[in-house]
């Protein structure tokens, strides 16, 4: 297979690699094979652009910054949700074709482009930030850096939706109407743990955002290009807050006793 997929050209430091790229739309499609000349330092998006330029000018690819910060070029490379602009060709096995296909969790528009608008609708469901009254007379607040650090991690999210793509609750079970997905649990965590926020989203998390559907497989953490510890630092702490709210009668009892003790 290596002989058919790669023709190494050692003198120029390049090699030809086969790509299996999904071509089609919501009505159907198939993988089509292309070849690209791979030079040192190239990423998958570079190869797709080369294919688009030389062999398939009608290939639909969404991209923008080519620096891993806009989250536009999300796709599946060899079955793993990845940003194509951050996936180095040198990191992929070179003895078989590179398979590139669109994200499976969202409706296909064409080729590698999916309709991710569902995510923006879901975002509107999350209860917005509500600040406590200002700390100072000039209408400003004071926050400790240690409290801010915890939520800063969540704010690195670039909304590439790879975590939504890999989450099996959405990908395999299509619970788009009852589960907001890891991206918006992280969004809720950023608000819920914000040192100025006063809103209580715990019942929303339990009832409306479907946090109970998450079974902690950590696939979202694995694919995050910003290396946000989605499960351990975001979703599980939220699950624990939901336990405080709905599933811990002993804890509630202790709180009542402590509150009564303080009053007396």
């Amino acid at each position: 297979m290596a002989a058919t997929t790669i023709a190494a050209n050692a003198s120029q430091g390049s090699r030809r690699t086969s790509f299996e790229v999904w071509r089609g739309d919501a009505g159907g499609g198939a993988f089509r094979t292309y070849e690209a000349e791979i030079l040192e330092g190239m990423v998958v998006l570079d190869a797709l652009h080369q294919i688009q330029k030389e062999q398939a000018p009608d290939l639909a690819v969404r991209w923008n910054c080519k620096a891993g910060k806009c989250g536009s070029c999300s796709a599946e490379v060899n079955g793993r949700p990845r940003l194509t602009c951050m996936t180095r060709m040198s990191d992929l096995p070179d003895d078989q074709p590179v398979r590139v296909e669109p994200m499976r969790t969202f409706p296909l528009i064409r080729d590698l482009v999916t309709d991710v608008s569902w995510n923006f609708e879901v975002k509107k469901k999350v209860r917005p930030f509500r600040a406590r009254p200002p700390d100072a007379d000039d209408g400003t607040w004071r926050m400790d850096q240690r409290d801010v650090d915890r939520v800063m991690e969540f704010r690195k999210c670039i909304e590439c939706f790879l975590c939504q793509d890999v989450c099996h609750v959405l990908r395999e079970h299509h619970y788009h109407d009852s589960f907001v997905g890891p991206r918006f649990l992280i969004y809720a965590a950023a608000l819920e743990m914000h040192p100025l926020d006063t809103e209580d989203r715990r019942e929303d998390l339990r009832r409306d955002y479907g946090i109970g559907y998450c079974n902690i497989t950590k696939c979202c953490t694995d694919v995050c290009p910003e290396h946000i510890t989605i499960t351990d630092n975001g979703i599980i702490p939220l699950k624990e807050r939901v336990v405080d709210h709905a599933y811990d009668p002993l804890g509630k009892l202790v709180q009542i006793v402590l509150r009564r003790g303080k009053k007396e």
Partner: protein, 270 residues
């Protein structure tokens, strides 16, 4: 129903094991399946033995605390409680082993691992599942995973008991009816067991929440903040602690058992 909602209904569903992944995605869940199955089989066998669980000042962690039992470690005498039905097999481990087992069963790390390995839900990331139905941890029976913090309280108590066992493992019979300080290989084995279980228990996600994670402005409580920071450091390697402590608690039982059976000799260092 808007256009997006309609097109969401048309999303493809994978068949079991269907994936474009090129890596050996099945290796990790298979390793978890084998590792956990081996531990469950061995610990169940060991719990039902009811003998060779103590050797001098050493007590197997599968049998600690020994509430009723044949050894001098028993808190309430022995060999079995008066209320235990005579026809029913008795082993001191049966009275206590449900607590650490429940702690591990409801542990956030193990949950994610065994949902994949034992239930293929999913078999691995971006791999097709065998079932189309899914209830998650939102309803019966998995909603009971939320009791994890209650098992944590018990696990913390067990940690104290096992620390006392490690302390007792420092004091050997001197042959004159008294006790003398000493260190045997078994002392090191029991001490390592407490350290590894401590790393696992004190890095627990529920503990991290209760110790300070639940606070939005944790900086206002410096002591809790320090505890939270320490717990978070352990939590970053929770998976590693989970496996190391699981292996070592099993090995500790093996060590005490084989010493008690005369197969292994407990070498004295001091």
């Amino acid at each position: 129903m808007n256009e997006t909602a309609v097109s969401l209904l048309k999303l493809p569903r994978s068949s079991f094991g269907e994936t474009s992944r090129r890596d050996a995605w099945w290796v990790k869940p298979l390793a978890v399946l084998i590792g956990l199955s081996a531990f469950i089989v061995y610990s169940t066998w060991a719990a039902f033995q009811g003998e060779h669980y103590h050797f001098g000042n050493y007590l197997s962690p599968f049998y600690s605390p020994e509430l009723w039992g044949e050894s001098h470690h028993a808190w309430l005498g022995g060999p079995r409680p008066a209320w235990w039905p005579g026809w029913l097999l008795f082993s001191p481990a049966l009275l206590i082993l449900w607590a650490p087992a429940g702690f591990r069963l409801t542990c956030y790390y193990y949950r994610g691992a065994y949902y994949k390995a034992f239930w293929a839900d999913p078999p691995s990331c971006a791999v097709g599942e065998p079932r189309s139905g899914y209830r998650g941890e939102r309803s019966f029976p998995l909603i009971f995973q939320n009791v994890h913090r209650y098992f944590l309280y018990l696990a913390l108590a067990f940690l104290v008991v096992l620390s006392i066992d490690a302390w007792n493992a420092l004091w050997f019979e001197d042959g004159l009816g008294g006790e003398a300080f000493g260190i045997g290989v078994g002392t090191l084995v029991l001490t390592a067991n407490v350290i590894l279980l401590g790393g696992y228990t004190l890095g627990c996600h529920s503990f991290r929440h209760l110790i300070g994670g639940r606070l939005t402005r944790i900086s206002s409580r410096p002591l809790q903040y320090k505890c939270y920071t320490g717990c978070s450091a352990l939590n970053r390697r929770h998976q590693l602690w989970a496996w190391m402590s699981l292996f070592w608690v099993g090995f500790t039982d093996v060590y005490v058992r084989l010493c008690s059976m005369g197969v292994w000799t407990d070498w004295r260092i001091l």
